[in-house]
Symmetry: C2
Amino acid sequence: MYRYPVTSRILLAIDCIIFGFDGKDIKLLLVKRNLEPEMGKWSLMGGFLREDEDLEVGAGRIIFYLTGLKNIYVEQLETFGKVNRDPAERTVSVVFFALIQIDEHDSEAVRNHNASWISLDQRPELIFDHNEMVGRAIEHLRYKAALHPIGFELLPELFTIPQLQKLYEAIYNTPLDRRNFSRKLLSTGLLIDTGSKNSNSTTKKATLYKLDTIRYKEKFHAFWNFMPDSMKPVKI
Amino acid sequence: MYRYPVTSRILLAIDCIIFGFDGKDIKLLLVKRNLEPEMGKWSLMGGFLREDEDLEVGAGRIIFYLTGLKNIYVEQLETFGKVNRDPAERTVSVVFFALIQIDEHDSEAVRNHNASWISLDQRPELIFDHNEMVGRAIEHLRYKAALHPIGFELLPELFTIPQLQKLYEAIYNTPLDRRNFSRKLLSTGLLIDTGSKNSNSTTKKATLYKLDTIRYKEKFHAFWNFMPDSMKPVKI
DNA sequence: ATTAACTTATTGTTATTAAAAAATAAAAAA
DNA sequence: TTTTTTATTTTTTAATAACAATAAGTTAAT
């Protein structure tokens, strides 16, 4: 077998940005790093790519290891490769972006890894270039959520329209008109009324909906234009 | 200095997808590969990341080497890392996406590298997963051009509105209404009328415009909604 | 038991913006 | 003068955003 006559082979890391939503705030799953350098400091969950695994498989492995979850929404975000981004040695990191339903993850696994859900606006300083990675991920979340019905990935299987509205208000950090919001949402045909109502409420109980998964798959890649133009993020 | 106790360090490649526009078709700059394996077959222009260079610097080096151009529009597209994507050895490739003004590149450098401009619909089979990379790049070009005023990067400094329309028609492979097109375009305030006219024309000469680079930079990251919804790409 | 406070839900109205397409005219060359 | 391309204005239609109005479900306070 031919092998390239190049001397420099590089360490390849995978870092995962895991977003969740607790009904009020967008949260980030962060860990206290358990290896040198920078041991004990906050960082994204990461690991090294194994010789026998594809990139997405590596990302899935890391996310499963931390949350106990499989088959969640994951996409590749960007690869970070500045020469000195890792002081230990040259490491190029492929960053993945995941959305999970915060109530469904395995909280024991999370605790075992010294991980915590932290609100976006309260996130601590992270190691290396992880702050920059998170910044890009927030931009990407806003960008994508304006065009594709990505928000459902962050909600439980049964959800109400006011819940979904609060999620979008958290993503864009801005209030939305509830009347236009629900009209626009219902007109997509993506929601199925389950008949039941949200029980834990001290006022009128909201209708619980679930996703029409077939139409969701059909419509996902179509441009959606869900957010009004004025709400669209200014930076990508 | 600490070094990670991980055994597998991996060869990191950079591949560049270079788009151009000849006034009629979107073209791709492809090379005949001059190293094993797959020597003599068509491929994207690529190379290996050097130990002392950032990813974007590596991409810039490769593009300059091939075209003689600097300071062109480049962005990172995606990283491809399937275990067996390169039969010689495990290689992860960071793919970059570049737009150049086809008439400004150094054609001698291009010829020296056995490179050719090839229309999208006439492109040959490429090595490895380069076909998949090009597919993603075309999707990305459509996606991005619908939202950001990216098209100018493919045109010469002075251009006419009909030229720009032909470019968008080539990107989306669909006819556009010239009346709505020019109205929408002029309303962006991105164009400066240079007063002069396109000389090489056998009918009415079109007005030559140039970019208002200050406004271009301001507006670039804003959502643009340039293409009508019906024209927007169906896949990302 | 009634009311107040709050939330959910739906409908309708108005103003604005965008898309589709008709109409017109001017420039240039054959 | 015919043909082709460029350029602009206008009309019609449709979609979207902003916001008014109304009603109904639920709990807690009176």
